[in-house]
Symmetry: C2
Subunit: 193 residues, 2 copies
Amino acid sequence: MVRGRPREEGIDDAVREAVRALLTETGYQRCTIDAVAARAGVGKAAVYRRWRSKAELVFAAVIHPVDLEPPEDTGSLRGDVEAVLGDIESSLDGVEVRHALPSLLADVRADPALEARFAEVFLGRELGYLVRMLDRAVARGELSRRPEPALVHAILLGPVLTWLHLFAEPVPSGGLAAALASPLHAAVVALDV
Amino acid sequence: MVRGRPREEGIDDAVREAVRALLTETGYQRCTIDAVAARAGVGKAAVYRRWRSKAELVFAAVIHPVDLEPPEDTGSLRGDVEAVLGDIESSLDGVEVRHALPSLLADVRADPALEARFAEVFLGRELGYLVRMLDRAVARGELSRRPEPALVHAILLGPVLTWLHLFAEPVPSGGLAAALASPLHAAVVALDV
């Protein structure tokens, strides 16, 4: 397929599409930065300017970008928890992420510099948004003080990640976020003692 | 190192030690069934009689055996949740499991027959024990009926797995099981509505 080079602002989209297509067609191992650049019709330098490693590129393309949207303020902690769970569920669901995630985590685990960057760029961004959600709940009087954000992060992300990526079961009818919102809201409230 | 063949009843232990040593020394990729059998000083046939695949062998050696010990009855659901979390934490903690798990999950994900067997043998066993724990809580009057066991499984396993295998943070002082017992007990109780 021959096509022109995407303009600067179209590069992110072209790269994201190329990653998703290559993961489906050839798998994680063969979805290299060279292959992505060729498929997207962009220069390798343009790819490396944006993402420092293949793991980062794949994470941003299939899970969530570095500039993740902040979670909405629904007016209550219960609503905010369900909205965050919905964001986590939609970012972790899908055949590309299902196939890419274990290999991606193996790459990250094998390289301490990559692990540190991954923690800072992706997990750090998620954590920052949970801090906002918790501070809103404190401001509303729903929590007396902000619980440890990393525990809240594990409590909200863990069950969704485990269901979608470890269990081979269909999601409960109505979706995982709806099924988990009440119990995990209760868990966050129970941290406030 | 030359040593005699372990007697039948010592094979499991010899294989487990060989897997752990090879994972540390050479990593998951090179921890093959051949290498494990040679290191343990047992025949390959003896290894294949017990475990159908490398992924199964590694899981049983570093995470938990097929004949997992049932969780203790502590007399309350709160206590049982903390005991189960402690079992999960100790089975998922440690440098071998930290390095092996992503590659192991990538292998399982890539092979539907292996995935089905993994779900049956390991996850199925864990789920069966959670059903016992929940039924005890119903018998004590702590829950009105048994909540969906797969949701409880995701709620208890997910946060521990996520903290130990995704976050690069030290465990809270006192341990993860102690920090998560109250919030996750509240989550299980909140499923009972």
